[in-house]
Symmetry: C2
Subunit: 255 residues, 2 copies
DNA sequence: AGACGGCGTTCGGCATCGTCGAACGCCCCG
DNA sequence: CGGGGCGTTCGACGATGCCGAACGCCGTCT
């Protein structure tokens, strides 16, 4: 649908995962004539969505991309509403807090508060993680309708560490448990040594729209069993956020 | 050039500055038939560059936008090389550090290290500031070739605060002074109470490719004249970064 | 309760617009 | 000095995306 737009998007995604590429290489990867790729690049360049590397005429993503990515965040309702809650959760439990949404088979981090201890941490906003390898993803998956859930379970569940759960049956049972407990856990399933405790955020209609959770060293979060205070804090924050999402919508409707 | 790509980009930019819009409104703003806009939106939606609001069928930017914005940062050479320098500058002077590049008539912040004092700060990465209202912008403008500089000086120099310098002649003289001193200053020209000290980053060819600077409360940065330690720290950091940018390119060439 | 207006959406025909292969000029390398 | 790789230009063909008009849905006004 709209060939040229589709192809332009393919080029952007290709450039996004490759630092810089030339016209010829892009043409080969996408199976397009050089002239076609060139035309598309020229158009994207005029929009600053793409820019030319100083030398060698190669292309990379352009600054407009960053501005639009930021605009996405600014317009994101869940993110906007979670800013204060995430901040207060982080200072309450003294751990990093992440907020994510489900995007296909991955969780996209839309907000991230550093652990308040002055240590050097990298910002994860914009990162995307396989849903089955983080507590945020499991928290959302647990409340999806059956059909969508089995879609997620059916396909490639990549192994990221020795502890990643890749068996659909095991994951399925885990999701049931998550739904019962109201929190999802993750024990070094994405990064060795790192764990996460997360809970689901719902909108006014009871549909999961995201998740919020605490991430940190496994010994502090899951020492012997998940820390009860952390679980309680995460659950309460998620519930407050859900209420706010619902209240927002309802008051908007009342207008 | 490539009408549909251009129009798609216009839609994205329009959505970026409006939270959410409907087909009709977009059509009006861009002077396009509804059906045309709809087709473009459908294509963009398939790429996740745009998503539909749950109710009311309005559209907003999609999650792929955030991923691409992040990919831009990951691929950004100046940003990558500035990470460590910015961190060490921030802890040395105990103030926030910003790194920016010139994008048209604005400075795009590509990296931002918080002031290390646990205060609540908002991340400015992705923000774009009129070049004449920040030290980063003036640091770059001062070293542009004459033609490009006068382009920047010629047009709308918006007033953001009472202290914003909007007179081209005054700015022109200030830029000469920046070039002589090797640092640019900004005194509450963007935000009342906030000042900045910045220096230019050059590539191997001596072309300004960005700037790095310290931002903070005016009394700490410019108390009575710019703090000499800060100026020295900023200058040294910018020079180190420049050397690294140059070295990177030269070694790449030597291959 | 009914009609209206506004919305997002579908349809189909026309001509525009993007696509492609081939050829060009440039640079680097042998 | 010749070759091969690159990004770029050209021109002609025809697929493709554009548009105006019509549809169906919802909320509102009377």
């Amino acid at each position: 649908m709209i060939q040229s737009v589709h192809r332009a998007a393919l080029i952007l995604k290709e450039l996004g995962s490759s630092r810089r590429l030339g016209v010829t290489e892009l043409g080969e990867r996408l199976g397009l004539a050089k002239a076609t790729v060139f035309g598309l690049l020229r158009a994207l360049e005029a929009e600053q969505l793409v820019e030319r590397d100083d030398e060698a005429g190669k292309y990379r993503l352009g600054p407009a991309m960053l501005q639009l990515g930021n605009a996405f965040l600014d317009n994101h309702e869940l993110r906007a509403r979670s800013l204060l809650w995430a901040e207060s959760l982080a200072s309450r439990v003294e751990e990093a807090v992440r907020v994510g949404v489900l995007n296909g088979r991955r969780v996209l981090i839309v907000h991230h508060v550093f652990r308040p201890d002055n240590s050097l941490q990298i910002l994860e906003v914009g990162a995307s993680i396989p849903w089955h390898a983080c507590a945020l993803g499991k928290a959302m998956a647990a409340y999806l309708e059956a059909e969508r859930r089995s879609e997620l379970l059916d396909e490639d569940l990549a192994r990221l560490t020795g502890k990643t759960v890749c068996d659909p049956a095991v994951l399925d049972r885990e999701l049931d448990q998550v739904a019962r407990r109201g929190v999802a856990l993750e024990d070094q399933e994405a990064i060795v040594g790192e764990a996460e405790i997360a809970a689901t955020v719902f909108n006014y209609a009871g549909v999961p729209v995201g998740a919020i959770g605490v991430a940190g060293p496994v010994e502090r979060l899951l020492g012997d069993g998940p820390s009860p205070q952390l679980v309680a804090a995460v659950r309460e924050t998620a519930r407050s956020l859900s209420r706010e999402m619902g209240a927002g919508r309802l008051s908007a409707r009342a207008r």
